[in-house]
């Protein structure tokens, strides 16, 4: 085992632990090879930063507490251009502040990971309560046309595993990746099994080989340009302005803007197979299905079993990757069932792309819950029963 792997194993400690979702995100980052974290304290995400502050010096990485979330996002982009794998974490108000620099990361094709432990908004809202109110902000929060990748784990174990996936996707596609949990999952303690460091699949961004003739934003066959870190003699100019493949500003060219922004979008959508993740329960044997994500999906798992015991042929589609939206998967389900129930811890956000994907094939019913409490199994069960009765 390499000394780096040994250090990581030693830093993380026991292979089985009882930890919070926030801790699991930090562990996942370290396992993925993250060596740089910049952040700012905010409930309920602070523990991610606390763990990183504790772990990074142990493995020779760097933790820096910035003056705000704007600076945190800026710092991880800057650090990523030295070749480091970088991350920040925040909650709603901080995520709002990060939007402009998030767009810069998209435009400059900078790999980095942003963890958002969501709480109720708008504004200061309910700092200690869980919510999923930033799902659409994640998609459209930064200005301009763009695509984004977002993963939504449902357990502490999955929070760790998907943080590793988030780093891998960021590296493979040279783009920021969002890992979204909520205050409930972030502060919930569960058994976490830390895998053997050596068995973890880790991807590194493709490096440019020689400065001769290097065009920093000329895409490879997979639409991703090879990367040259600052200080390696490639003399790259990075700008948030519309730029040509050389990286030089061409802000008045309609053709270059069109080509660049469409490539940046296609770079994500063309790799939907690489990104899309979901879990299906009774996909071929259900009349009514729940489509859920995040912590809500855990409740739904039990609800579906109980409903089936009561004679309702219920199924569950648990979305793990939210953006780019797995439209084809949802469309397939819509073609098979009589109705879809969408429980969300917001006033209805992911129900919209679901309706777009369903395109009228079946009714889509939103079951909203806000205020920081989770959906109870009983309320979802009666929602399913009502839907069954309506569709009968």
């Amino acid at each position: 085992m390499s000394s780096a792997s040994q250090r990581i194993r030693q830093a993380l400690g026991d292979a089985v632990q009882f930890v919070q979702g926030d801790d699991a995100c930090a562990y996942g980052a370290i396992l993925a090879g993250c060596t740089f974290f910049a952040g700012y304290p905010i409930t309920p995400a602070t523990e991610v930063a606390e763990r990183m502050a504790e772990l990074l010096p142990l493995i020779g990485g760097c933790y820096i507490q910035m003056e705000d979330e704007i600076a945190s996002m800026g710092a991880i982009i800057g650090a990523s251009w030295t070749g480091a794998k970088t991350m920040t974490s925040t909650s709603g108000p901080g995520f709002s502040l990060m939007q402009e620099n998030l767009g810069y990361a998209i435009m400059s094709e900078t790999p980095c990971v942003v963890v958002n432990v969501q709480r109720s908004g708008p504004s200061t809202g309910q700092p200690t309560m869980g919510a999923y109110g930033d799902m659409m902000q994640a998609r459209w929060g930064t200005h301009g046309d763009h695509e984004i990748i977002m993963l939504c784990p449902a357990s502490v174990q999955e929070a760790m595993e998907l943080t590793i996936v988030a780093f891998n996707l960021a590296e493979q596609l040279r783009t920021p990746v969002l890992l979204f949990i909520d205050g409930e999952l972030g502060h919930m303690r569960e058994r976490l099994v830390i895998p053997d460091v050596e068995t973890i699949e880790r991807y590194e961004r493709v490096r440019a080989t020689s400065p001769a003739g290097y065009r920093p934003f000329a895409p490879g066959p997979n639409l991703v340009p090879p990367f040259a870190p600052f200080g390696a003699g490639f003399r790259t100019y990075v700008t948030g302005l519309t730029h040509n493949e050389q990286g030089l500003p061409r802000a008045s060219s309609a053709a270059i803007h069109d080509q660049l922004v469409r490539r940046l979008a296609a770079k994500i959508t063309d790799h939907s197979e690489l990104i899309t993740r979901y879990e299906a329960f009774y996909p071929d044997d259900c009349d009514i299905a729940i489509v859920a994500y995040g912590i809500t999906a855990r409740t739904c798992r039990d609800v579906v079993e109980e409903a089936r015991r009561r004679g309702i042929k219920a199924g569950l589609l648990r979305l793990i990757s939210i953006w780019p939206f797995p439209e084809a998967v949802v469309a397939q389900w819509a073609a098979r069932v009589r109705a879809l129930l969408v429980p969300e811890m917001n006033l209805g956000q992911i129900v919209h792309p679901i309706r777009e994907a369903v395109a009228g094939r079946c009714p889509v019913v939103l079951h909203s819950r806000i205020g920081g409490e989770l959906h109870s199994p009983a309320e979802l069960l009666s929602a399913l029963e009502e839907l069954q009765w309506q569709q009968a």
Partner: protein, 286 residues
């Protein structure tokens, strides 16, 4: 510190240091930002800095375009945030020389909080802050540095806000190197930029430059000769300033009102963030 200026022609400097494809520049006739670029190149040359290991970071605005003109790694970031990006670069790879170009609006207005904390953190960064008293790129709006009573598109009846003294702020925060020079004196800024880059720690060099298009024409400083004259008349060396304050006649003291203090305001040693972090890691690393 003496700077080892070599007898170079401007053409030689251009070929050695500039990204030819970026020219012509965006700067208007009479703009002083080009002078700052020129002084910076002389300073880089005097130090023999390895451009392969130097990163130029900037925010948004006219002076923030400078990062693109130098043929090195460069990062033209978001408005006001150059220091945040630069801090990430420096913290992640302390071996790189990181130089920041920013303006008064970019660096001290929207980016004021980052300036404050970057100085407090004391990374080895060199900030060349170009102060033209206005938001030039957007057409001449009032900035945090716009002089009292000056006219701009957003102060059409005269500015009523008190201008910010950026160097005084940096000095108070303990920045290891702080200097301010007007555009009309080349040798001092070249020397100060070189000293700032050589200084282990945060260095701020504020450059006072004319913006004839957006600021000058609304304040009787449109003509180049007149505006350079203004910088000669309105700036007072720090030593002279302090002498007048202490020993000057009431008339001499009154004459300082509205003028700008120039010179090297601070030059001291202070341990950097990177050095402290390295010591911390050496202490706890597994």
């Amino acid at each position: 510190m003496a700077t080892g200026l070599k007898p170079r022609t401007a053409a030689e400097l251009r070929t050695s240091y500039l990204r030819q494809e970026m020219f012509p520049t965006i700067f208007c006739d009479g703009c002083g930002i080009g002078n700052v670029l020129n002084y910076t190149l002389w300073a880089l040359d005097s130090l023999g800095l390895d451009l392969d290991r130097t990163v130029f970071v900037s925010g948004i605005g006219c002076s923030s375009r400078l990062s693109g003109y130098i043929n090195a790694d460069g990062m033209h970031t978001t408005h006001g945030r150059a220091l945040a990006f630069a801090s990430g670069i420096k913290a992640a790879n302390p071996e790189l020389t990181v130089i920041i170009f920013t303006g008064d609006g970019d660096g001290a207005g929207i980016g004021g909080n980052h300036l404050l904390h970057a100085i407090r953190r004391n990374m080895d960064l060199t900030v060349i802050l170009v102060n033209n008293f206005t938001y030039g790129m957007t057409g001449g709006q009032a900035a945090p540095t716009t002089p009292d009573g000056s006219f701009s598109t957003t102060t059409p009846y005269g500015n009523i806000e008190h201008p910010l003294d950026i160097c005084e702020l940096a000095r108070a925060l303990g920045a290891p190197y702080v200097a301010r020079w007007p555009v009309n004196v080349p040798a001092q800024p070249i020397s100060s930029i070189a000293q700032g880059i050589s200084k282990r720690g945060f260095a701020l060099i504020e450059m006072l430059v004319p913006c004839p298009t957006a600021y000058g024409r609304r304040n009787g400083l449109k003509e180049l000769e007149r505006s350079w004259q203004w910088y000669r008349e309105q700036t007072v060396l720090v030593d002279e300033w302090e002498w007048i304050e202490q020993f000057g006649s009431p008339e001499e003291r009154a004459a300082l009102g509205g003028k700008l203090k120039i010179g090297v305001f601070q030059d001291l040693e202070r341990e950097t963030f990177e050095d402290r972090w390295a010591r911390l890691v050496a202490r706890v690393r597994l």
